[in-house]
Amino acid sequence: SQQGEEDPQALSIQEGENATMNCSYKTSINNLQWYRQNSGRGLVHLILIRSNEREKHSGRLRVTLDTSKKSSSLLITASRAADTASYFCATDYLGGGADGLTFGKGTHLIIQP
């Protein structure tokens, strides 16, 4: 299956620290995306990185992509209590077209005040 795997499954850090989450996938992709889901809510798109890109920044977010290792990382710098949420990586794999995204199992991030 194309299903991605996030690591760690859960992460608890102090406010102000950096949080790093990793994602691995199995087949060739067009792009990889990260989404955030607050408790009881829908998913919100954070950032997209294409297969020919290696690093991308958006505000306090930094995403890397290593297609040779089929892995990505999401770094949230200077974490805030409001960053508490579940974070999912999702892949739009080659040939996917309108087939939708394939999501990992998510990392539950808790920011301690």
């Binding site: 067009n30 792009n31 995306q33 989404y35 889901q37 009881g40 809510r41 829908g42 998913l43 919100v44 798109h45 997209l48 579940s86 999912f88 739009d92 077209g97 309108a98 087939d99 939708g100 995204l101 394939t102 999501f103 199992k105 998510g106």
Partner: protein, 112 residues
């Protein structure tokens, strides 16, 4: 204004019943999707619908059928509900050729 909306937000029903969940997007997107999120938060694509082309995840039972009355709507009909159908169902949309998806707030379905 809500970009992708779903109704109802909560749905509690008996096993064997038939139910529908509605989804509407006001973003002018060409592609719409339905996802199922189980109790372990695993999110799985069920359907995508694009220019009258329906792509079905082969693992989805045929008791589930999406219906699109127009470009802005993709409703999910579920027949003969089973206990295992209990989950949160998310609708999403994306512009044609774009990959970013916009998700609705979810419908929490509980089958008793």
């Amino acid at each position: 204004d809500t970009a992708v909306s779903q109704t109802p937000k909560y749905l509690v029903t008996q096993m064997g019943n038939d139910k529908s969940i509605k989804c509407e997007q006001n973003l002018g997107h060409d592609t719409m999707y339905w996802y199922k999120q189980d109790s372990k938060k695993f999110l799985k694509i069920m359907f995508s619908y694009n220019n009258k082309e329906l792509i079905i995840n082969e693992t989805v039972p045929n008791r589930f059928s999406p219906k699109s009355p127009d470009k802005a709507h993709l409703n999910l009909h579920i027949n003969s509900l089973e206990l295992g159908d209990s989950a949160v169902y998310f609708c999403a949309s994306s512009p044609l050729g774009q990959e970013t998806q916009y998700f609705g707030p979810g419908t929490r379905l509980l089958v008793l």
